[in-house]
Symmetry: C2
Subunit: 184 residues, 2 copies
């Protein structure tokens, strides 16, 4: 979904949410004034669209560069990343770690504060139920941002983590740390 609105409202915090994955990384930019949030931009980085013989470094390079472009263009104030569900599969965890490392570097290279939220925290914040399903998340993300239509799943998850951060930021207020980790 593309909807470029560059000018930032006064007193609004612009948040970049990221749902990292080595195959598809979702990202979403919102603005929040503490009471309501508005949609700025979102999309997916499809490293799985690269040629099949492309290795991990190139995939990470794509994720890093695209997110760097998003940061440059949309100038978020803060970044929120979905915390990883640690699977029992060490190989999958490693791949996901690579993608998250690339995503976090795109944020921290410009010293943006990065917060992490577990999937459960995100669901609790958006739907009010830590065990909510994908459809419920999508429904509430569209509703909270006043959007119509549908979002790709990773894009919706990225917007959800940004919204979760917006809600949590309001609670934490001016005491917000440069780094926070929120696990329900």
């Amino acid at each position: 979904m593309q909807n470029k609105i560059i000018a930032k409202k006064d007193n609004a915090i612009r948040i970049l949410g990221i749902d990292p994955g080595l195959q598809i990384t979702g990202f979403g930019v919102i603005e929040s004034d503490g009471r309501s949030s508005r949609y700025i931009h979102s999309g997916n980085i499809r490293a799985n669209s690269l040629k099949s013989d492309v290795g991990m470094p190139q995939k990470l390079g794509l994720i890093f560069r695209k997110l760097t472009e998003v940061v440059d263009e949309y100038q978020p104030d803060e970044v929120a990343v979905e915390e990883v569900f640690i699977s029992r599969n060490a190989s999958s965890s490693l791949k996901l770690g690579h993608a998250r490392g690339a995503a976090v570097c795109a944020a921290v290279q410009t010293h943006l504060p990065v917060s992490e939220y577990s999937a459960r925290s995100v669901k609790q914040a958006i739907v009010g139920n830590g065990a909510a399903n994908k459809e419920q998340i999508q429904h509430m993300v569209l509703r909270l941002l006043g959007l119509r239509g549908t979002l790709q799943a990773d894009e919706a998850d990225a917007l959800a983590v940004a919204l979760c951060h917006a809600h949590t930021s309001v609670l934490v207020g001016s005491q917000r740390a440069s780094y926070s980790r929120n696990v329900a």
Copy 2:
């Protein structure tokens, strides 16, 4: 170990080797003309020296920025990264994945070719035995680079993967791909 020699010899390839870790990341820069290699620089990035309440994003930021500085200052032509031993512990794999993601991003942001080598390939290339121990690696790294004294383990491993790449590059010659993955 610090020994700055900036000027590059003609016909030499400058290689940055990296042994990534979320606590300590070793790096080493060598130059190879195909017959012999010389030491340029090496060191460790100690993310474990940061305050105990510092989170993963800051640690990755440190790794990313320090390696970016090394790339800027020593201008390697190619980068070699030790491939991860996938442990049965998914949590450890995830942390190591984060560190490798940050290390690889520091290289690919300037479009440097990145090659990966398994620990076994590195040991085979340096000691001639894929099951060599740390002391044997250290001994041969010092000998191949004409160094005296001792190297910290991660620094030695980083120089070892750079030397492994130098040896492999000679074999592959001009057919070297922009990305290669070498697993013994």
